[in-house]
Symmetry: C2
Subunit: 757 residues, 2 copies
């Protein structure tokens, strides 16, 4: 089976480089001092019986974060980042995630809580582990790297070879080659990536085997790690022998189940090994890797790619390790694991030879130049052991004054970092914030989530057999198609609302400036708003709050509106304050007051300076990567200033309110103030009724109300509806400028998956 | 009550000119010779118990077309046009609509069928009429003109006067003034607009009162028309007197009901006259008008506007007719009705005075210049009676050789005209054809229809209490919002369909030309289609049917696609023929083969000439005002010709098929061929399944099928789905280039109103 030759001849470099990677990462929840907590797995993560991403491993304190498999390894790392942000922002504010594999600050054995699972078999399994290995070893954490070759590659290779008649046989032997060569050369990855040089003495039952100030490359991969008894040997010679020997250990009672076989390579894709004979190995799980404490999520992208390439090399090589070679590899792993991290390894020549072959392979398959360069850096670490991760870690431990101290420091830094943009999921920051918030909640609650289209904010969520699609945070199957079409059209919206008996300001539509201006007598002296028929973000809107008294002003406003649309509306302007009601189903979940962009004078600073100061608020930014938008100082704002007799260089008096905009949209720098609890319930009921008239499940209703404390009355002087919006914004309610936060994305999930709540 | 003065002082011209007009028009269904049919009212119009627009009046043959009230009189005329087109295209192909008020070719009295209504009271009423007036008079048809002042005008006038304390009193007296002055001066409108100069002798029970060759101005408004006994006098002096005298005639048994009082002005807006005392007269019904036989729909816009202005004049005048003046007006009407149409009227001075006042009024209220000019034309008809409608009609009758002959000729011409653009509703031709088709069906079946927004193709349909909205012909509440969002995104569509187990061609997405070109090796030699991620109308699509073999060709195609979108897809090209399946609910209602724009050579004409000839087809046009589109000869078509070694000036051989396009969209000149009955049912089931997977109620599914006769198999070589479209086109199925028509708009109505079917 000469893979190398086929890939070269057929030009399969691209296909060979492709593959699917999923990562599982264990880690301990700890106190600020790095010691392990005894608190429960947070209830906010829902039930562990179904959570696909956030689980507990052996102990109640031991988080297991599981990414879905991804074709792009970048996506796997993005998921890992997202899972960490969700976890760090959900656990108790005094808890942290320990960044190292070996546990620090272990409580007395009896205080270590085994994970409180529902499933009796899972509990029994953990009890068996305690009896066989003790609790301390179970607290060791690591990264499991799951890898699947592109099925098209496997098919193409099978078709190009003649050794195997059966595709299943071919696939099994291909993955076994990968497994065996990996077991043979795994010590190389250990040398380059290990990060468990020490642990506290109480980890060991019979006292530490390490001398004072002795560091090793990997305690976790040594015999002091969490490994099977040395006589438990399972053959990788063929799939048949693998099944036979593994079943032997289970049948003889030495292993409680197949999954107790802790090889650094596990064959995956079937519930029982015997199934591989018929269905084939689907992917491999590589369990060698220590957490990289210098990385917030335990691994970085370059190393993850390097591992991917190393795994590919295992089938690229002409040789295939036999069982003896596998045992040799295991022995070498044990030796290297106990070497001093700053010393040269005993097997430097072999390591350099293999990495050189890796570099040759990368060039042959057309890998990116950066991958070649990174492999060359790794190669150099054989002659310069001080550059290995483990050696650098030892230096850092020394500097920090101890293993636990360093871990605690990093853990606290990581948590601060996870809160830096607390409203975002950093790894998915190319998507809309509202979708990021929904994804946060879906991950937290344990819904299966697939991003169908990132640019389009299109998600597929699943719980059991029930699936739902969501676009832009709240566009779902619960709304009828006609309802956004109605809301998209202001004229139709008004007709529908008026017919349903809601207070709607009267308006007239025009298709030309001339036509509108000819109707000026109809509006003279009346408070009116002039706006494009269908546009968003407050563009082209003029408001004559005190009534329009000059035909030229009116004409100018009409002209501005016509720049945005072919049809323009002139509408009664309602006296009162505009509130946005966010309605979902039968309930108004949030009420927001949007105040037009403004600053308050202090008698010292200019308008421009006041704006700059206000724009420093942590929620303010471009308005797409932040919940609120910085106030601009463009043409419209300067016009607004002029109306108040001001310029950007004026110094407003102390407490003088300076309006920068007439419209109150958040997208033009407005302030958002939650008023949900202040609003009289009668208006909340009206907003629900308006939503029903629109046929909508989710709706943003804009009402003008002069007095939010007085109950609604059936006339336009008590209240009026000016707009109903589909796909209403959520971020301004979730993260208002002031007032209480309303986590609307959770309500959207509750609507879609009532069975989850 | 000096209306004139208030309107002038307050500058209310615009408000005064506004008002609501609805028209009812009776007419007889006739044979080709103009004689009245004895067939039933067509079943296609549904049940008369609810039809809001197409009813029968007295006789089964007597159509009554009723427009809804409209604020713009133009809309009322458009409705009248639409009602006629629906009626003319629905009645038996050998039946016509008689254009004149007086019936011709009356059958013997016993053969005249009274309308077969469900309601017993309605039938009893008609039996009473037969007994009181005989059947012949009941066959006379006319136009009833319903007019309501703008309620805002009434309110403003009320506020500006001091004579009345109660708004209801004011409103009643305002409309009574209008009614009384109209009754006083109605003879003027008769002089100008009457059109019933003669009738056949058998119309009269006791022989014709007309001498041979005698014509009069209006038989219909004379005592030989359908009028109450002369002694039935109802007072218009006050609303109280009106109620009192009308109730007297009913209580005494001289009238069977209030509605038997056939005044040329009826007070409207209440079921019983007594209600007016409390609620006020809402509008007036003017019943004076003969059908204008020269107009396809019995009245033209100019006359309709003139009538509107004349009615306004009735309240503009300082004077208010008293009961004596009303009786004088009635007497004068009778006299003028019996004048010779070519002679000067006895009351010319009064007529000219009133029309001059009308002209003054029009100028004072700022009416359009054309209205003033039209009034001046009417004024001139007092000195030139030969220009009156009736005189011109007499001339035409003489020329045609008889009353019935002329009527039959016009009726046949009108029917031909109604079929000229048989796929459209002419008066709503600014809207989409599919919406016009839906409106046609809604009118035919008797759904209440309101156009919420013409530009947006937004309709509201209602039947009983049940209402539905429709946009663009088939976007309704039956589709879930997420479903068009899925279909709008081809990538998401594919993921959803693939997950649901449908055969989907594989594809890759790219965001730059470079990225796509770098992946060229993945596609080399394969048949692929390159297209923008989300665009319509086939723009930017290239197809390599024979496989792509040249990197430069590939790069060029990618570049063209990127001109239309920021993302481009390269997709497996399926071998087979593309069919469009139109699915509604659980059924594939139509299957269409779309053949790319093409011509077939004849060995004589050039490609350009063949295209021009093919473009003459009645269904071809711009593709928006016609069901099919003319073939263009632009850049893309010329490139397509080049691929076949042709130019527009080539002369293709006889029977040579010349492709003008690679894509088969109708919108780029393709042919549409109905294949519904030819398609194997297994594919129709698949299309329904795909529609369900999209969560859609209405969906256009594009399948590629190599053999439409063979049952579908579960692999891509048997069939593949390439697109699912929301808001799928309907016109190409309703009016295919060849094959059977599928009236999908009826199915849409059936989906929305299952209770109607």
């Amino acid at each position: 089976m000469n893979i190398q030759q086929i890939v070269k001849e057929k030009g399969l470099g691209l296909l060979f480089r492709q593959g699917t990677v999923g990562i599982e990462k264990e880690s301990q929840r700890v106190h600020a001092d790095g010691s392990i907590v005894t608190s429960e797995h947070p209830k906010a993560f829902g039930n562990r019986s179904y959570h696909p991403y956030i689980q507990t491993d052996f102990a109640e304190s031991q988080l297991e974060l599981i990414t879905p498999p991804n074709k792009k390894i970048e996506d796997t790392l993005r998921w890992l980042s997202a899972l960490h942000e969700v976890t760090l922002r959900t656990i108790d504010e005094n808890e942290y995630i320990f960044p190292m594999s070996m546990p620090a600050g272990l409580p007395p054995e009896q205080e270590i809580r085994v994970a409180q699972l529902d499933n009796a078999a899972d509990v029994a399994y953990r009890e068996h582990l305690v009896a066989s290995y003790g609790k301390a070893k179970q607290m060791v954490s690591g990264i499991h790297y799951n890898f699947q070759l592109d099925p098209k590659l496997v098919e193409t290779l099978f078709n190009a070879q003649t050794d195997y008649k059966s595709a299943v046989d071919f696939q099994n032997n291909l993955y076994l080659k990968m497994a065996k060569n990996f077991l043979r050369y795994q010590w190389i990855l250990l040398y380059l990536l290990s990060a468990t040089p020490t642990v506290e003495a109480n980890y060991f039952k019979d006292g530490s085997p390490l001398k004072p100030n002795q560091y090793v490359r990997s305690l976790r991969s040594s015999k002091y790690g969490y490994v099977n008894a040395p006589d438990i040997i399972v053959s990788f010679d063929s799939i048949e022998k693998y099944v036979e020997t593994l079943e032997h250990w289970v049948n003889s009672g030495r292993l409680i189940a197949e999954k107790e076989f802790y090889s650094n390579v596990r064959l995956r894709g079937a519930k029982k090994a015997r199934e591989f004979l018929y269905t084939g190995i689907q992917y491999l799980e590589f369990r060698l890797f220590d957490l990289n404490p210098f990385e917030a999520y335990g691994i970085n992208l370059k190393d993850a790619k390097f591992i991917h390439h190393f795994i590919l090399l295992m089938i690229w090589l002409d040789e295939t390790a036999d069982q003896d070679a596998v045992e040799l590899g295991r022995a070498r792993l044990g030796e290297v694991a106990f070497e001093d991290p700053h010393s040269e390894t005993a097997y430097r020549d072999e390591g350099e030879r293999i990495i050189n072959q890796l570099i040759d392979m990368l060039k042959a398959i057309g890998a990116e130049q950066s991958a070649v360069e990174f492999a060359e850096e790794k190669l150099a670490q054989f002659s310069d052991p001080g550059q290995t991760l483990c050696a650098r870690l030892v230096d850092a431990i020394e500097q920090a004054g101890g293993y636990q101290q360093l871990g605690a420091e990093i853990a606290k830094r990581n948590k601060v970092q996870a809160f830096e943009r607390f409203y975002a999921l950093s790894a998915f920051d190319n998507m809309e914030l509202s979708t990021q918030a929904l994804m946060f909640d879906a991950i937290q609650k344990g819904l299966n989530m697939e991003i169908l289209d990132e640019n389009d904010q299109f998600l597929r969520l699943q719980f059991g057999d029930h699936f739902e699609y969501v676009k832009n945070g709240n566009m779902t199957s619960h709304d009828s198609y006609i309802s956004p079409l109605i809301m998209e059209n202001k004229v139709v919206t008004k007709k529908v609302l008026a017919k349903a008996g809601f207070n709607v300001p009267q308006s007239l539509e025009f298709t030309s400036v001339e036509q509108a201006v000819a109707s000026y007598p109809l509006f003279e002296g009346k408070a009116v708003v002039i706006k494009p028929k269908s546009t968003n973000f407050g563009l082209g809107i003029s408001i004559f709050q005190q009534g329009v008294h000059d035909k030229a002003d009116f004409a100018k406003a009409v002209e501005i509106a016509f720049r945005e649309d072919k049809e323009v509306m002139v509408e009664d302007y309602l006296v009162g304050t505009e509130y946005r009601f966010f309605v979902l189903g039968n309930e108004t979940l949030a009420v927001l007051l949007r105040v037009p962009a403004n600053v308050v004078g202090d008698g010292v600073h200019t308008v421009a300076e006041l704006v700059a100061a206000k724009n420093d608020h942590p929620l303010r930014g471009d308005g797409s990567r932040t919940p609120l938008k910085k106030i601009a100082l463009g043409e419209i704002e300067q016009l607004q200033l002029k109306e108040q007799g001001l310029t950007v260089d004026s110094v407003p008096a102390k407490d003088q309110l300076v309006q920068l905009r007439a419209n109150s949209n958040i997208s033009t720098g407005g302030d958002s103030i939650d008023m949900t609890d202040e609003m009289h319930p009668s208006y909340k009921d009206l907003a629900v009724g308006i939503t029903k008239a629109m046929g909508a499940a989710v709706c943003g209703v804009d009402l003008i109300i002069p007095d939010l404390k007085k109950p609604a009355e059936p006339n336009l002087s008590s209240w009026g509806v000016i707009e109903a919006n589909f796909n209403p914004m959520m971020m301004m309610h979730i993260f208002p400028y002031s007032g209480k936060s309303r986590r609307l994305t959770l309500n959207v999930l509750g609507m879609l998956f009532p069975e989850l709540v």
